[in-house]
């Protein structure tokens, strides 16, 4: 069982490495490099070169894993690469927690548990290839099982890659919300914000806006009206500005205002 499983791991690793290496040579790569934690590690000037060097190493190792023969040195190289990757993630998490890792995509997402889990999975896969035969042997021996493991591991790597969420997770969530919107069940009320907006556009409000001192003090409803009060100051002293805003259909001219003296001066 171990033999064919180890063979499948070579394919998984090769696939991920070629993909990671390709990402680092895209047109958007320099931008992604500058946003990654690598910038903190090697400095602004060398970051693109370092990013591409990592990409070259990944592409080379990916190609070596695919090509015959399978040498144990390739496994060691993969183990070293992913151990280094884990170290890089720890460094990035401590020194530049808001930077992306720049690993498998140019989407910048801060390094969290998923990036660590993905690297740990890949490190385990690299360890599993130690001493294994070249991958076509596994494919010939147990074709179905090998393909199943490949698909499952690829899905796991994708699921652990926040850089790829916009390709599958977001569309999935968008589809779910389109089918049945979870927030479509709430009661239909006229929100307070709606009355405040209408109030602020009204002539009544503008005519006294310079006198108002507070934000909205209190509000309540009376029949078809919503009443809103503000503290205000006039030359006669402190007053309460009380506005009446119609709850439903109306024009802005329907808003009414009165300034009512406070019953007693508020204590200072």
């Amino acid at each position: 069982m171990i033999e064919w499983f180890a063979g499948a791991q070579q394919l998984v690793l090769a696939g991920v490495l070629v993909w990671a290496g390709t990402v680092k040579f895209r047109a958007t790569a320099p931008e992604a490099a500058r946003r990654s934690a690598l910038r903190k590690l090697v400095g602004e000037r060398r970051v693109v070169t370092a990013y591409r060097a990592v990409g070259t190493a990944e592409l080379t190792l990916g190609a070596l894993l695919l090509a015959p023969p399978m040498l144990v040195i390739e496994s060691y190289a993969a183990v070293a690469l992913f151990t280094g990757m884990l170290g890089y993630l720890v460094y990035a998490k401590r020194k530049a927690p808001e930077s992306g890792c720049g690993c498998l995509g140019d989407k910048q997402t801060p390094i969290r548990g998923r990036a660590f889990a993905r690297t740990a999975v890949l490190l385990a896969a690299a360890l599993a290839t130690l001493g294994a035969a070249w991958w076509p042997a596994a494919l010939a021996d147990r074709p179905l099982a090998t393909v199943a493991v490949l698909v499952a591991e690829a899905a796991l790597v994708v699921a652990l890659s926040p850089e790829l969420d916009h390709r599958w997770l977001l569309p999935l969530r968008r589809w779910r919300v389109r089918v049945r919107h979870p927030l479509a069940t709430g009661p239909t009320v006229v929100p307070l914000e709606s009355s405040v907006q209408r109030l602020q556009k009204s002539d009544a409000y503008r005519s006294v806006a310079g006198l108002l001192r507070s934000d909205l003090l209190d509000w309540w409803e009376e029949g078809e009206w919503r009443l809103l009060t503000y503290a205000a100051t006039t030359s006669d002293g402190q007053v309460t500005a009380v506005f009446a805003v119609p709850l439903r259909d109306h024009g802005p001219a329907d808003v009414r205002v009165a300034l009512v003296p406070d019953p007693e001066p508020a204590p200072a």
Binding site: R173, P182, E222, A258
Partner: protein, 202 residues
């Protein structure tokens, strides 16, 4: 006069039902913009200068009618609340809503003894530019520059403003993956926010 009686009195004043009994109530005559412009108080703070009439910080202590606040620059302030102070905490509320640990913005008038007589206090208010990453029952998961924020929908309070049209309580036009601006009340020391208003395109 209790608050219910006061509400009734004010309702009568503005709707004219008890106008005859309201002494001193003045329903405004002129709604011309010039009239409004003339009332505006001049700005008394230079651009970029420290505004003595504004305080931001977190509540470290409560006394009757007074909030002890430590600002982010570690300066300490005392804020008086009066019956004429508006207090916002997800919605307009009373000064009892203030709790130790709440973040606040307060505006008012600095008194000679150094305290601030507050005109308005906003507790835990946040204004965030986010992406909606998922929508669940009474909850929205938001991405704020890579930080995850849980936005709680509060029935009867949370409103949506679509394409700058008047606010509505219908949140069913919000879409996953879209950009939104959120005004809400932070739950102190968490990454959770109760949503007041969500501004989005529809």
């Amino acid at each position: 006069m209790d608050s219910l009686g006061r509400r009734k009195f004010l309702t009568g004043a503005v709707l004219g039902t008890t106008a005859a009994t309201v002494v001193g109530a003045s329903t405004m005559g002129s709604f011309a913009p010039e009239a409004a412009a003339g009332q505006r108080r001049p700005l008394d703070v230079e651009a970029g200068a420290h505004d003595p009439n504004f305080i931001e910080g977190r509540i470290t202590g409560l006394r009757k009618g007074m909030l002890m606040v430590t600002s982010s620059d570690r300066s300490m302030h005392r804020i008086h609340l009066t019956g004429a102070t508006s207090v916002w905490k997800l919605r307009p509320t009373s000064s009892d809503a203030a709790k130790v640990g709440d973040g606040l913005y307060a505006r008012g008038v600095r008194m000679p003894d150094g305290t601030l007589a507050a005109d308005a206090v906003w507790l835990n208010i946040v204004n965030l530019q986010v992406h909606i990453t998922s929508i669940g029952r009474n909850v929205m998961h938001l991405d704020h520059h890579g930080d995850r924020i849980v936005g709680h929908v509060v029935a009867g309070t949370t409103a949506a403003v679509y394409n700058s049209t008047p606010a509505v309580s219908d949140l069913s036009l919000l879409q996953v993956g879209k950009h939104a601006q959120v005004i809400g009340a932070w739950r102190p020391d968490t990454n959770e926010v109760d949503l007041a208003t969500v501004y989005a395109a529809a």
